[in-house]
Each structure stands twice: as C-alpha cells, then as structure tokens.
Point group: C2
Chain length 567, copies 2
C-alpha cells in the first residue's frame, strides 16, 4: 500500500489546506485507492482472510492519512461487513455496488441529542403496508442524525438505525439502507435536509454530516432483516433460525470498528514514540563537566518520560495483534455453528468485555504518548513537520467514537461483576474467554501478599496484578451491593464508578495485556527475550505505580519496600 | 478591551484560514490594537501601574486570540520592558518608536541547536573599534536564530542575544538591538538570511522565523549596556553602579513573560472547565429507573473528571493573581534600592524559584483540563465551534517556551536544595520570600504522622503537604549526596530527578499554591467561605492522591485509613 501511495502524485504530502479542499482531496484519494487494485477480488475471500486483509490495508492507510482510512472504512468496508452480517440475500446488490465503488455509504447512528445512549434514539421507521414501504421520519431537530462521517457532502447511501414501528408497536432499533444522494449527480433526494456539521479539530478530510428525514419513503426490502423482519402485510418476525450467526454478527458489528481503532492507535503510539526517541538520540543539550554535549536520551528524566511509552508501544502492539487474531477466530467460530450456544454466548460477551476495556486503554495510551512526545521534542515538536500535532488532532476522537471510553469501561466492569456473581454461586457456569480472568476463580489471588524481594519477576507481576484486580472486583461488588440496598441498581452502578468500577476495568485491561505480552516473551527467540522482558517489566511497573496506594490500602504490602522496589 | 474588539469588524470570528492569511490578519489586528487607544500614554506611567495594565490587556487579548497577544508581547511590551531594564538613555528612541507603532520587534534568543541551554548559544557580536561597530555573525546554520516570533515576515528590529567578543575575549551573552527590515518596505537588509520557519500546530497568526547573519554590522550603541558596555576603543566594562536595579532587571527579564503565561494559562484553564461544566449541566444522557434523562453532571464519574479541574481553576487563578502582585512589588522593591543587598538577592532568587515551578504547574494543569474538557463534551467537544481544539493547540507551546517546564523545575529543586544546605548550616542565612518555605525550617514538619481522623481540615492539609515537601527534600538531598560521592555534581543532579528533585519541585509548587488559596479563603466573606474551602480541599486531595504512595512509603501513615479518607 505504501509503495502504491508513494508512486502516486495524488498522495504527495501537502501543506495544510482549507477543510473543504481537504475533503475534496480525500474524496479523490478514495477513488484512487479503489482503482489501485488493492482491494480487487478481496470481497470474494472467506471472512477471516478478507477481514485480516482489510484490517491490514486499513492500518497502512491510516498511518498515511487517518481521514482516508476512516472514509474508506465508513464508506465501504464496515458497510459491506454490516450488510453481510445484518442483511440477507436481497442486499447483495448494495454489497457488490459498494465494493465496485458505484455507491458510497455512511453509518448513521448518533443523533444530536443521543450519542452513547443509543437505546433512546428517536428517528422512526414506520411500516406502511399499503405501499410496502418504510416511512423514515425525524420527529424534531434533536433527533437529527449528527456527526455521521461521509454524510456531509458525498455519500449516496446511509446505513441508518431507527426505531422500527409496525402497527402500534415499536420493535426497537433496526438498520436500514437509505438512499441519500443520486450517485450520478451527488444531489440529495427530496424529503431530506442534509449537510456538513462544520469544522472539526482534526480529520479534516472527512465530511461529517447531519440529516433530517421528512416522511421519507424507502422500500420494505431496505430493512436489514437477518435478525428481524416485517412481512409485506406488516407482521414483525424475529428469525431465530440461525442463532450462532446472529451472535457472530452482533460481536462483529459491535467490535470490528473498535478492534480497528486499537490497531490504528497502537501504530499511532509507536509512531509518536519513535519520533521522540529518535529526536532524543540526536538532539544534544547541556554539557557534562568534561564539556561534552549530552544527547537528551542520556538524561534520566527524559528516559523516564519516554521509555514507559516505548514499553507501552511494544506491549500494546503485540497484544492488539494477537488479540485481533483471536477475535477473528471467535467470529468464525460463532459463524460455524459447531459449538454449544451457551459457550458461544459466553465467549461473545467475554470478547466484547475485553474489547470494551482495551479500546480505552490503547487509545488513552496513545493520547498520552503523543503529548509526551510532543513535549519531549521541545519547540521543534510544535512544528507541523514534526507530525505530532496532526497525530494528536487526528487521534483525539478515537477516545470518543465507536463508544466513548468512559462509557465502554462500564460495560467491562458490569461483565466482571456478573462473573463475580457467578463466582459466588454456581461456578460451573463460569467461562472466561481466552482465559482472561481465570485468576478470579482462584482463591489464592486474594490471599497473596508482598513479602519483600525481587519485583523483576513474572511471578511477582502476575501475582500482584491478579491480587489487584481481585481486590478491586471485591471492593466494587461490596460498594454496589451496599448502595443497592439504599437505592436502585442504576444509581448503585453510577455511584460506584470512581475508585471502583472504573479503576477495576482499566486494571483488568492492563493485566490482560500483560498476560498476552508475557506469552509473546515466552515464545520468542532467546536473543530477543531479555529485551522483551525489560519492556514487560517497564510497562508493568509503570501501571503498578498508579496502583501503589491501592496496594497499601488493601494491605497487599506494608512499609517502604514495595514502593521503593517498584520505583 | 473586549468591548473594543466586539465593535470592530476586523476582530469578527472567522472560519479557519490558511496560515499565511492568519498571519496577515493578526498583523492587521495588531495595528488596530495600537490605534485603538488602549495603550495611549500607558508608557509614561510608573513601573507597577504600567505593567499591571499591560498584563491585564494581555489577559483580555489572549482570551480572544493567543496569536494576537503573543505578537503584541514580543513585538512591543516585552521589548519595551527589556529596553528599560537592560538598556540606557541612548535606547530611549527605540522605546518610543515601538510604543508609537513605528517599529515592531522580536526577541531572538533560541538557536537551531540550542534552546534550553542558552549558555552555549553561538551567535557572535564582535566589536570592531575601527568603525565602532559590532559585527554580528552566525558561524554555521546550527547557530541560526530559530523559532523567533514576529521574525518570519514582519518585525523591523530584533532584540538579539549573542556572545560579545572584544579583542580576544568573550564576555558572554549580551542583548543587542539589530535592525532587520526597513520599516517602510519591510524588506530585509542585505547580509541577512531571514524567513519563516513554516507551519506549526497552533498560534497560526504568529510568524515564527529564523535568521542568519553574515558579518552584519550594527552601531556600538545598539548594545543594551546597563550591565556591561564596550567603550569606543573596545574596552569591556561592567557597570556595578546600580546593583539593585540590575537584580530587578534580571528578575524582570527572566520572569515577566512567565508570569504572563501563568495568567493566560489560568484563564485558559477556567475557560476550558467552564465550557465542559456548562455542557455537562445541559447535556442529558441515559435515563434513571423512573425514565428521567439525567444531565451528565449528575454522574459521579463525570463530576470526578471535571470538578478537580474546576477546583484547580479557582485555586490557580487566585494564586496567580495574588502572586503577580507580589512579584511586581518585588521588582519595585529591588528597583528602590532601600533594602540591603543580601536580602534583595535572596528575595529575587526565591521569587524566581517560585516562578520556575509555578509556570509548569499552571501550564500543565491547563493542558490536562483542556483535554478532559474535550473528552467530557463527547463528540461535540471535537467540533471547532466547541473551542477546545484551538485552546489546546494554542496553549500547547506554553509548556515549552519561556523555559521548558521540565528544565525550569530543576531550577526550583536546585534552589530548594541550596536552602536545605543552609538549613543544615547557618540558619541565620535563611530567607524565604513570601514565607513560601518557612515550614522547611521547623523540625515538626518531618516528625508529623497521620493518626487517623478528619482530612477536611486546613491543619491536616497543611501538615501533610509540609511533611511531604520536607520528606522529598530530604530524600532528594540524600540521593544527590550519595551520587555526588560516586560522580560529579552535574551527573548527581541528573540522576536524582525522577521520584526526587522533579517530584519535589511540583509538590513544593502545589503546597505553595494551596497556602495562597487558604489565605484567600480566610480573608473572604463568610458566605463564600464554605464554597471556597470545598474547592481548596478538592484541589488538595486531588494533588495528595498522586502522592499517597509516597505518604505510605515515607511512613507518614499505615493501613487503609488515609487512602480511604482522601478518596
Ligand atoms: C470524528 C467523529 C466521527 C464520528 N463519526 C460517526 C459516524 O460516522 N456515525 C455515527 O453514528 N456517529 C459518529 N460519531 C459520533 C460518536 O459515535 C459519538 O460522539 C459517541 O458515540 C459519543 O456520543 P456523544 O458524542 O453523544 O457523547 P455523550 O454520550 O453525550 O457523552 C458525553 C460525555 O459524557 C460521558 N457520559 C455519558 N454517559 C455517561 C454515564 N452514564 N456515566 C458517566 N459518564 C457518561 C461520556 O463519557 C462523555 O465524556 C462520530 C464522532 C466523532 C467525534
Ligand atoms: C511557539 C513557540 C514560540 C517561540 N518563540 C520564541 C521567540 O520568540 N524567541 C526565542 O528566542 N525562542 C522562541 N521559542 C523557542 C523556545 O524558547 C524554545 O523552544 C525553548 O526554550 C525550549 O528549547 P528547545 O526547543 O531547544 O528544547 P530543548 O532544549 O532541545 O529541549 C527538548 C526536550 O529535552 C528536555 N531537556 C532538555 N535539557 C534537559 C536536561 N538537562 N534534563 C532533562 N531534560 C532535558 C526538555 O525538557 C525538552 O522536553 C519559541 C518556541 C515555540 C514553540
């Protein structure tokens, strides 16, 4: 992909443009990418091969231009995947058209008044059996679709989520394919109020848009009907004929975008760190007593500022790579129908829980690394040419979109609390996908104590982190329970976030990531191992430092030793 | 100032422009500001009145456009102040010209290869007694002046720092007024290679530039000669006739810009927090079990994310206001010549030490608040219209310029270590300006322990923070001493930054800020006091949380109580 981009003038690096020009350029680049042959025939491949391929191209494109990769993902690949998983045979035409570049899509979920809270979205799709059409309607401007990438200027079709009404009954959110613009002229169709939401902090190449529907009619067949359908005469049917596929579809639609964001963010992190470490190796400042100028990298403070991010880059990159593979296997497995439903459903919710805490972990790690890298490069880090400003501004929305980080973390803690409940009850029911939380079942974790000695050991890190997550889980469970006694469960959850559920999810994510990286250490060449282990310890201790007070508070240790040793 | 800006079309809010257009607009706005009458006759006022007035206008302008306020500061006010403090009667003309808008200046210190390390700047100013001129020369491109604001396109004069050579002797860095462009045409003079350094992350209205001098001649009189001068026949003379003024001048030139940055950053912080808190009060998301949508502000997690920054906004704003006043008094005092030199010199270095740790504290606090505010506003925080992106990009360089934060912090810890040394020796020598560190002299601080009980008390906060700073000072001192035994002092300092000197400076800064805010609480109306005290506690506990492990490590407390109570 990079070789292709390098050869083509359209992808030359340019000075900053006005955002309308940036959008125009990105639109052209998208067409060029389509024509480049990179994607030829890929849609005929099997799921795993196709998705891995698309993910790889996405990573490569993202490092060149986040706008371009996002535009492609929303406009083509995520749309195509969603059709395969949520649609049926009758939507094949859209799938083919989008792969051939005849149409371009957007994914329209968010409304002006509702983002994280998707349950309360208010756009309606009311079935009219007399014409066999859905009438899409926006009750008021607060229900306008909002922030939708590609919708501002260019897309021809929207994969749009609305409350499905048939007769007097609302059947909840469903996805519809809604024609928005004439593919020949790109003029919007009558009945639509559509436009660009205006300037943003970054991603200037994306035309994020809004849309309001005024009794806008689409054919009945445009409902993506794998999970639920409406018969011509208005009967609502749920098709549970293919339950595994539904599970897989659910997993995929919730997670594919998030996994891609993790992949991109791990690269962004590595990129920022590389810039700062290289600069620090070459930039000298101040002389030692011999009058020799010292590279920044030789200063303890500078090492401390950068090396923790360097370690994060390795640990997270390896985690994301290995986990992505498992995630894809998981989707395939859930498609295959060869396993029992209970196990599959546990697996799907477990993988979902890992995604929901890992996406925040990785995106925040990249955010912090970019900022430190920018500051570590001094004034020159503030030059556009240093790339760190654009990295920051383009990376920034990853903490918000595809699920706001703070909201996602609550899904993981809820899942952990559910596992905890099962722990206290029927432990046969327990299933931890990828063994991510098996330690929660062993009583030894919560009994562990630090009794001095070596901290640069895998046993120490594992024992300590397992203790930490177990302790936080138990503390959170107690907190939720005591609050539930006084008020309802919803309030109890809200009031047990700070120092509890929120911390729990992040610590769980870090522990998980460390386990992946340790496996990687174990299976790597003997020569590399010492280096990888150092990165492992550095990442582990950087994380543990933020929990030191919890380790004291929970009685895992007493006296100065642990803090001394970890520092 | 705001009323004036509102009325004038030139200051209307605009969509993003290309950076060249932004520079042109800011240049026009600067002229308009000059013509507005805001500054009329202000240069004839006494030092304190003038400087306070300029600082206030700077704060007002900065909130409208950081580019404009920076352009004005570099181009007019800092230049004018520097002439008064570093120059003599013969430079009065430049002072008058710049106030009248006939010339525009820049402050050229940084070179391509040397930023923080100003001692090793390599531009030379060699005196030629045959023509009574200085020959300014750039030995190679690494010694090009670099990053200089206003130099890229517009300024006519540079206040430039170069190594003064006379005969075969180098007398170190001195400031020179160097004509750069013809004020009538803005064309650069022959012998200069000058231009714009290119696009940046923010401050698009500033034309940061570079310059190289090729045996460029300026009159002998252009040396700012208050501290050192060269006679017509090339004799170097230091004029110690007016030592207090020199101290004051040193303080002012080192600190005026930093104090202004603190003022701006406190406003930036307040601005970011206000945006996010207001949004959180109006934005609802998710329903309670009664089906009522809840404002974001009602969620514990959201409060926790924002209110610590809200507290920081109040605490830091009050500190900066009160400290700025004291700083100005200090400069006035040092000008007055009515105090003994030893005391004055102690005071100047103490105020300098406070500035060196407070500028990092305030600028980083603003940086963190902006980012949290941006995330707390969800997707809409990523709109340009939300203002948080521009706040972030324009605020960003404050952590680097006028002294990189991490480098500045070392000056404070060095000063604290020096005070510590005196503590162990002749304690009569001790002088803590503004009483900022008197607690270091009392043995009780280091003996304090937490024995349970109330943490929402001024006594607890003060006792704990005093203990913390004393402990960190002692730990740093030991570390430096033991390292000094093994290597030289320079290496010992470098190797005792992390967990020691660096942490010490920041903790000292926070303690100091809290003391200012507590005084403010004590002197405020009874009605306001409970609210202010809550903000005090919130800020104090937010800071203390990051030191909890140190409190355990140092034996200030044992068991879960302190962590529990602070949380
Ligand atoms: C660049 C960009 C591109 C986008 N592209 C698309 C797109 O193509 N299609 C699309 O449909 N949408 C898109 N979005 C919208 C995106 O999905 C939403 O911004 C995201 O879901 C968050 O919703 P929100 O912005 O409404 O934030 P809100 O849900 O209003 O959240 C605001 C803040 O409140 C906090 N919060 C919310 N609920 C709680 C709670 N219960 N407890 C504690 N805290 C809470 C959150 O942590 C967050 O910080 C895009 C957004 C951006 C920035
Ligand atoms: C927007 C902007 C405007 C500016 N305007 C002007 C201007 O008008 N005039 C002017 O003269 N200059 C100007 N500057 C330059 C500015 O003063 C310098 O960038 C600043 O002094 C830092 O120097 P540096 O960039 O060379 O960083 P360096 O000194 O190279 O430092 C780079 C990094 O190394 C770290 N570091 C350096 N030394 C040590 C050490 N001993 N121990 C540990 N860490 C260390 C620092 O913390 C920093 O993170 C401007 C800069 C910017 C960004």
């Amino acid at each position: 992909v990079w070789r292709m981009l390098e050869k083509n003038q359209l992808f030359e690096r340019r000075q900053t443009m006005l955002s309308d020009d940036e959008k125009r350029l990105t639109a052209k680049q998208l067409i060029e990418l389509h024509h480049s042959g990179v994607f030829d025939n890929i849609h005929t491949q099997c799921y795993k091969k196709r998705t891995r391929y698309i993910m790889t191209v996405n990573e490569a494109t993202n490092l060149y231009s986040p706008s371009l990769s996002v535009k492609y993902a929303l406009g083509v690949s995520l749309f195509a995947n969603a059709i395969l998983s949520l649609g049926t045979e009758r939507h094949k035409k859209f799938f083919n058209d989008v792969w051939e570049g005849k149409i371009l899509s957007c994914l329209a979920l968010t409304e002006l008044a509702h983002g994280s809270d998707t349950k309360h979205l208010r756009t309606t799709a009311t079935y009219d059996s007399t014409t066999q059409e859905f009438i899409i309607h926006t009750p008021d401007y607060q229900a306008a679709k909002w922030w939708v990438g590609n919708l501002g200027k260019q897309c021809t079709h929207a994969m749009m989520f609305a409350q499905l009404w048939s007769g007097a009954t609302c059947h909840g959110l469903h996805a519809f394919i809604v024609p928005v613009r004439d593919p020949a002229t790109l003029l919007p169709y009558p009945g639509l109020t559509v436009g660009d939401i205006g300037e943003k902090v970054g991603l200037h190449g994306i035309d994020n848009g809004f849309i309001m529907f005024n009794m806008y009619r689409i054919p009945r067949e445009n409902l993506l009907n794998r999970i639920g359908d409406v018969t011509p005469d208005g009967e609502y049917e749920t098709s549970f004929t293919d339950p595994q596929r539904i599970l897989g579809a659910a997993l995929e639609n919730l997670s594919a975008g998030r996994v891609a964001i993790m992949q991109e963010s791990a690269n962004t992190l590595a990129c920022a760190v590389t810039i700062a470490v290289r600069y620090a190796a070459l930039r000298s400042q101040f002389c030692d007593i011999a009058g020799q100028e010292l590279p920044l990298l030789s200063y303890q403070l500078h090492q401390w500022r950068l090396f923790k991010h360097l370690a994060a880059a390795y640990v997270l990159k390896v985690f994301v790579r290995d986990f992505s593979n498992q995630y894809l296997d998981c989707v395939v497995l859930s498609h295959s129908g060869s396993e029992d439903m209970k196990m599959l459903s546990n697996m799907v919710s477990g993988v979902h829980a890992i995604v929901c805490c890992s996406k925040p972990l990785v995106t925040w790690a990249a955010r912090d690394a970019i900022q430190e890298a920018r500051e570590a490069c001094g004034g020159n880090g503030y030059l556009k040419a240093a790339a760190l400003g654009d990295l920051r501004n383009n990376h920034d929305p990853t903490v918000t979109y595809e699920g706001d980080n703070n909201v996602l973390l609550q899904q993981t803690s809820n899942w952990l609390l559910r596992q905890g409940q099962q722990l206290n009850g029927d432990s046969d029911q327990l299933y931890f996908p990828l063994n991510c939380a098996h330690y929660l079942t062993s009583a030894s974790a919560s009994d562990a104590r630090y009794c001095g000695g070596l901290v640069c050991s895998h046993t120490f890190v594992e024992k300590t982190f397992d203790w930490l997550v177990s302790w936080l889980l138990e503390a959170t469970r107690c907190k939720v329970e005591s609050l539930s006694a006084q008020s309802d469960r919803f309030m109890a959850r809200n009031l047990s976030q700070v120092f509890h559920a929120h911390t729990l999810s992040l610590a769980f994510a870090q522990n998980n990531v460390l386990k992946y990286f340790w496996s990687h250490c174990e299976s790597s060449e003997a020569q590399l191992r010492p280096v990888l282990e150092n990165l492992y310890y550095l990442y582990a201790f950087t994380c543990l430092q933020t929990y030191l007070s919890t380790l004291y508070q929970g009685g895992y240790c007493v006296g100065p030793q642990l803090a001394d040793n970890i520092n």
